[in-house]
Each structure stands twice: as C-alpha cells, then as structure tokens.
Symmetry: C2
Subunit: 240 residues, 2 copies
C-alpha cells in the first residue's frame, strides 16, 4: 500500500481544502502492522478517482486511523494499452489484475476461451465486488486513484464477432500468440488493444476469429511465458 | 510444463540418437493429469543443459511415463541480463525466480538488504535444492534447458564492496530505484547487470553503496510496482 485510497464515505469533515479521513479494517491494519505508522507521522493518500496528497495521522485507536490530508497532485497518466484477457484461474486472476492495474491499465476485458474452465466464471474471485477489491489493491500499489473499467464476457463468439470489431475500430489491436507470421512485440504505440490468451494459449480457431475481427498477432519469441509474466512483459514492450 | 526436462538419471537406453526416457512423480503426474497425454502421443522434451526434441510416449503405467525422443534443437539464446535481487519473501521468491528463469536469465544473485527479514534466509524455499527446483520449473515453462547459476549473498556490505565491483567490471549495471537523477528504463543493451530492491525498496544508504560500486540508477516512473511485476517489466524494457 504505497498510497491509501479513500472514498467519500471515509470523509469525516472538510475545511479549507483540508480533509479528515477515517480508515478502518484492512487499511487501518496495514498502517499499524506493516507500515508501523502512528500519530504525527506522514502517509500518502488518494481519493478514489480523485487527487493524491500527503497527510498526517491525527488520531489512532484499535480499530481506526484518522488522517488529515490536502489533496494537490493529479494521479499519474493512464496506461494507453487496453487489455483483453482470457479469464485466468481465480488465484492467478488476482495477481494479474493487480499487476496490470498497478501499471495503469484502465480498460480490462475478461473473456472466455476454449482453455478457460467454465467453473472459473462462478468463482467468488470473479464477482464484481472482488474485481473492484483487486483493482483497489493495484491502484494502492501503483500510486494511482483512477479505477479501471473491468468487463466480463462469458461467451467468446458474441464478444469477438459483435463487440470486438467496434471496440478496436480506430485503434491498433494485437493478440499475443506464437505464430509464424507474427511480428515481434517491439512496437511502440500510443493507444492499442492487446489480447492475451489463457495458459496453453488461444486455439487456432480463436486466433483466426481475433484476426478476422481486426487484430494482428504478436509474438514474444520462442519462450512461452505464464500469463502473470506475459502481461507485464507485453505492457512494458508495447509502451514507451 | 511446455517442455519436460530430464536428466541423465532418467535415461533408460540410447540407440542411434534415440533416447528412452522415464519420467516419474511430478512430471509423470503432470503428463497424465494436466496434459492428459498417453501412449502414442507427442511431447516436447529437453535434456538438462542439453538439447530439445519432440518425443513419443511409448509406455505409461501408474507411476511412470516412458518416452522415446531424438534431441535435435538447441535451447533458445540466453537472456543477456544478469539479475541481482534482494531476497523476496519465500512465497514470492518462487514466482519471481520462475518468471526470471522462464525469460532466460542465467545468472541470479540473491542479496540481503535492510528491508529483507533475516529469517527469510532460513526458509526451506531458499535451500539450494528448492532454488534448483524453482529454476527447473522456470526452464520447463520457458522451453529452455540451461540451468541458471543462482548465488546467495547473506551480507550486503561484503557483496557490494568486495564482489560487485569485480562482477560488473566491463558491463553496464543498473539499479532500479525511483530517484530524481535516475534515467528512465528504456535502455537497449546487450549485456548488463540489473539490481532490484525488496518490497519497500533499497535504502538511500544501499543505493549509494550500489552507485559507488559502479551501478547507475534507473527509474520506472512514478508508479511503484511489486517485485514480481517489476522484474519482468525491467527485463522486457532492457532487452530487445
């Protein structure tokens, strides 16, 4: 937690641009047990979808930490890459999402694919509330406040046939897939869509459909990376 | 397991370049339960520190899979980046090591740092045997056979003062650290050393010592990434 994100419901009072914020539960525990911060000490805060600032702890008891903060700094620029990702298995989903969000990705589409087990979609980890929590942790890691938009698409064909062509219109769009005619992932770009398959990769049929929708295949070379490694690598290679 | 790595002790017989290999335990279980492969089916194999080839399963029982393989292909080129990494907490160590090894890193130094808990060094995850196992999994993921050299340095000063200057002689060397005078991590390089701090970062003193030893600081921008995200990102940004 390099930044404690608060929401309007955490605000106790507000005068002359100075905001009193009360943090509880996970954030309070983290401040006390991990950061070991107490009254008088400085801490970085951000308002969800708002600005960032440094505050001081003014009160602390067993269940809450109260901070006074002035918000003055804009969050960092968004990552211009939009991610389309075959739903990873629930435990990995958490890590991959946090990692992508910490890198500033603001649009994430979780899609179905042949090698995604259908039961994954029923996992509590994939509920809107849990996705929101994963995103919060990613923002707190990456010192950002702007919550990403995460969409779920449980059927591959309607997504790829009906939604995708419109989505990527006027954007570059790449699907990461080892392929003989793939270009290597060293494309500097401002603004693009990037599709990443499940462990085991997209099927040939799926790649064909993604290409038909307007995506170009992009290769990472002979090495096969796990999704949790491939996503940061691709985001790093595609951005400046 | 995109490649099953075998060792000389797995070899049953060898005639005219065709090798009979017997895989047991983890690898056998993976072939049966995850890959769902049986007699007659093709599988990719590699000899530890040797070549890669495609083989066919010739026998399978409850506890072993026997494969006949011809090795013909060299492993992929090594990653020219050498990694110096503050020892991550044991659970993360496994993931970060596998990820770096899957990306072809062949020289890894695990070092102590102020924010590394001393107890981490006593974890079974940090034993030579476990480090070897993590590396094997990374190679099997990245379709590689060449085992990396992993060294442990439990004291920061002797490493940074006595060993590091010699190690990085005639190489470029970078320490990833947010800093006002840091250059941004977009340096294409053939061959370099890269130092990555613990969660929470190197201390100012440590950065100073690393710089004195000849390393340049390198920044990833305003966002702070977890070690497991920062390592693939840095490897991707520093290599072609």
């Amino acid at each position: 937690m390099n930044l404690a994100l608060f929401q309007t419901e955490n605000i106790l009072s507000q005068t002359d641009g100075r905001i009193r914020v009360c943090l509880k539960e996970r954030q309070h525990e983290h401040i006390v047990k991990i950061q070991k911060l107490g009254p008088g000490q400085e801490i970085q805060l951000g308002l969800l979808n708002g600005k960032i600032g440094r505050g001081f702890i003014v009160e602390q008891d067993q269940s809450s930490t109260t901070i006074e903060v002035s918000l003055c700094q804009a969050p960092p620029a968004a990552n211009p890459i939009k991610l389309i990702m075959a739903l990873p298995r629930p435990l990995m989903l958490k890590r991959v999402l946090q990692s992508a969000v910490s890198m500033g990705v603001k649009e994430i589409h979780l899609i179905h694919s042949n090698k995604v087990e259908k039961s994954y979609w029923q996992s509590p980890q994939v509920s809107d509330e849990e996705l929101f929590q994963h995103a919060l942790l990613g923002l707190e890691q990456g010192v950002d406040t702007v919550i990403p938009k995460i969409s779920k698409h449980q059927r591959f064909r309607p997504f790829v046939e009906d939604l995708l062509p419109e989505l990527i219109q006027n954007h570059r769009a790449y699907v990461a897939h080892p392929s003989t005619h793939a270009q290597s992932a060293k494309v500097s770009t401002e603004d693009c869509y990037l599709a990443v398959g499940p462990e085991g990769g997209f099927t040939d049929y799926e790649v064909e459909k993604l290409e038909q929708a307007g995506m170009q295949t992009l290769s990472l070379g002979p090495r096969i990376l796990r999704v949790e490694t491939a996503v940061p690598v691709l985001l790093a290679k595609l951005s400046d």
